[in-house]
Symmetry: C2
Subunit: 401 residues, 2 copies
Amino acid sequence: MKKAPVYRNIKVNGFLFAGICSGIKKTGKKDLALVFSEVPSVTVGLFTTNNIKAAPVKLAIKRLNGRKKCQAIIINSGNANACTGQEGLKNANAMIVATAEKLGISPDLVQVSSTGVIGEQLPINKIRQSIPGLVRKLSPYSLTDAADAIMTTDSFPKAIRKKVKIGSKTGTIAGIAKGAGMICPNMATMLCYILTDISISHRLLEHDLNDAVNRSFNRLTVDNDMSTNDSVFVMANGMLGNDAITAGSADDEAFKNALQEITYDLAKMIARDGEGATKLIEVVIKGARSVADADRVARAISGSMLVKTAVYGNDPNWGRIMAAVGYSGVKIRENKIDIYIGRVKVVSKGAGTNKQKQAARGLQDKTVVITVDLGAGDKMVRAISCDLTEKYIAINAEYRT
Amino acid sequence: MKKAPVYRNIKVNGFLFAGICSGIKKTGKKDLALVFSEVPSVTVGLFTTNNIKAAPVKLAIKRLNGRKKCQAIIINSGNANACTGQEGLKNANAMIVATAEKLGISPDLVQVSSTGVIGEQLPINKIRQSIPGLVRKLSPYSLTDAADAIMTTDSFPKAIRKKVKIGSKTGTIAGIAKGAGMICPNMATMLCYILTDISISHRLLEHDLNDAVNRSFNRLTVDNDMSTNDSVFVMANGMLGNDAITAGSADDEAFKNALQEITYDLAKMIARDGEGATKLIEVVIKGARSVADADRVARAISGSMLVKTAVYGNDPNWGRIMAAVGYSGVKIRENKIDIYIGRVKVVSKGAGTNKQKQAARGLQDKTVVITVDLGAGDKMVRAISCDLTEKYIAINAEYRT
């Protein structure tokens, strides 16, 4: 089911990209990426809520606090630089300094991310030696090289682009991401970099990104584990030359929608490429009393191993969905609940409709939509998940060995 | 790794048991069990906290409320009688009435449990027709037949017995249970029946059972899913002839300890027999500020799919344990944490000790103990889990098909 990315030659005004192999990964695959803007960009970051944070995440939180611009982000895969103590912080900082030096900009304008195995020190000399070559490779057409270089167990690079009309001009928003495992609500082992030439204030960008992430990565579940490294960055370099977008304007509406589409589509790509996954699952909760209620039910269903394996096995076992609704903790009335698998109504007012056969056919699709109507209100939430297969186990039982 | 039960001919003064095939299961395996006491017994029940409750659970909660005695419990496997509406309640009641009639006792003294597939009506006629044969089979030596008949995807029946000195007499506590899948903290698809000839008040029994279940079944995780049917019953028929145990006495201490051992050992059997499991995992959290903190950390680790698959793959990937500690939500200091896999210290003060090789050897045992010392206090908790394998997926992807 794995799919190559749709976009190949994504270009965003003023941004250059590179992705190379520095030797962190023993496989010889790309493991070092660089995103660079010709001018300092308004930058916002969102990070894991795990109490154990990787060194680069600790640095980024501290360094973005109060500082609102950034011009370059260096990212390595193959090593998370997490649980690495003072040496880890020193190494993360060394990546920043070496990158800034080679680019000829202030280290204040450089950020760093890492992803991979926890608890091992970075091979910092290899990385330092590779930075000149990485900078030499910078090109406006190399976004997918960067997307390649941030992958860990991902089976395909994830990149996407949207064009947005801002006044009389047409801006671009592009994004790359990595995911695959250890993904759970609240963006676990997920890295995402979104780049735009549209001019927008730091405050509004922060607001719009929060909103977009809440509706996408924060409602994405692969295996309920949350990583130490999750990070989402947005850089807006303003090179489109538009008047900076203001809150509540039509331009803001267009920008916000595009940003939401970008994050939701990347979240879907991550689920589709979930470790071992063969199917994308979309969980739609309707008729909830509140968004918070809908959210809890959506998380219970999208995180249920029994629901995920049933989807994998083409088994329209709605009892497992019902049980997840029940243990979500949300107050429900059993005899108000309708459940659909695809378009087939398998539960009506809490009771089975004996349409398992039709529902089983729908389960063979590569995208399975499970809809639950709680019959208690008018609030709705959409969450993203994937099926759980033998291959997930094989990948994670053998990750390091 | 699956093991046959240790105890074969368990006898508890005044209790009779039976287990037969009534035809609910299409495989021809036993699916109907009866537990009967010659005299009405003090009875306590604890049930699933899932908001969607099976019909027999709804009935039991209602019928045990205020009524403190019971003499017989009829249990079927193969069908959960959950999400079955009014007809389900009628059928559960019909099982009670038919059993009471055949035993010649009041229906008020009969309870019912079900386990199996959700959303299908019970084949009530088959069950009714089988009850006379079930009653005829009652014998003091048939506890393991009953343990057999309550199994679903379990690979072996779970039964255990302890002798307890109460004053100058020796009482017996025996228990049977079923588990296998859909098990998570708060006793999911788990049925357990504990029988004793010791005399104890309803109030004290309730207190002691709550305590025992909190330390065992409520700290047991197979797959984080919680069922609609979980039930634990204790029947105390007093036929030992002891003076009823009083709270705080030495007898109560002995009784409580034995009850805790019974529930903990049954919980371990359930984990060992987790769907597809090859290893039992015990998670020990030490040095916590509070029991609640220790409990949250224990649940995060014992529920982590990445930790479970790492144990399966003999991969001493302590980073996954660390990440789970971090996302448990408990405030921790990274540089205070020690982690042991078996007896090997893999993390000291938050940093790896490079003892992966030794730790990997320990992971090959059939029981793996993961110990985390949070270095924040003196509270401790012990939780039970099992590894996650390809077979879990195969079992659950093909459960009904």
